[in-house]
Symmetry: C2
């Protein structure tokens, strides 16, 4: 799609992270860099075309998007055993529709606050390393699960 | 619905805010108290039954839920002219499925960070008062819009 890439929009010009799967209308990426340091199981469903708000999508596309979000959530639950999954479409900084799908654990640095709040404790290097070690399997499971749906 | 209210879960036992509309499977409330002080246009779509994760819902219920979220978002855009709408289903504190639908403005106290981040500036009392003055109309428009869908 990406019928009208927006000048200066990073998600119109880059994947936005490690590419896990790409379809005609959306892609799934795993966050890299600072966003992922404390939260290894941090994925995003990015709508390929530049739209700002979820309600800009036609209902069939909203359903497609949320089926992808739900599929990623389900795999995170199976693979990473999070205490909770957090879903969010914010876009204040990058107003190009993308859904955060984040595995949260009750030992993580911000729990129980959202990942965007101030840290409440130091990250736990051993537990983070254990999660990191599962990410390759998690990536593969997401790609396989989504391929069965779309 | 609320087939199995969970002891101690506030959203199983209270509306969770100012009730705007209630249907068999979900309700729409406007946040009150501290959550709403800096963000007058802060609504929630609360699933009536106690489920923790979005992916716990059957796909037909996911669609129902997201149609409600999208309808609220659309009304907020029409009524409050936000810079951006923020959507989130977190539930770390209250693991009972509820979607935050929040009108954000580029002058608000946390912009462009999420509402859960630390304040970046003082709230603007005059602009907040202007938004507050529109909330009764916004509430009514949400109720009317949702009644046309469900």
């Amino acid at each position: 799609m990406a019928a009208s890439p927006e000048p200066g929009c990073p998600l119109c010009h880059e994947d936005g992270g490690l590419l896990i799967a790409r379809y005609g209308k959306f892609r799934i990426i795993r966050a890299t860099g600072p966003d992922a340091a404390d939260f290894p199981g941090f994925y995003r469903v990015v709508w390929n075309e530049h739209v700002a708000e979820f309600s800009d999508l036609a209902e069939a596309d909203q359903l497609l998007c949320l089926r992808a979000v739900s599929a990623v959530e389900r795999v995170l639950r199976d693979q990473l055993a999070p205490t909770k999954v957090n879903l969010a479409a914010l876009g204040n900084m990058v107003p190009h529709l993308h859904w955060h799908v984040i595995a949260r654990h009750d030992w993580d640095s911000r729990w129980p606050a959202p990942v965007w709040a101030a840290p409440q404790r130091a990250a736990d290097p051993q537990r983070l390393a254990e999660l990191h070690a599962r990410l390759a399997d998690c990536d593969a499971a997401i790609a396989a699960t989504v391929a069965q749906i779309f």
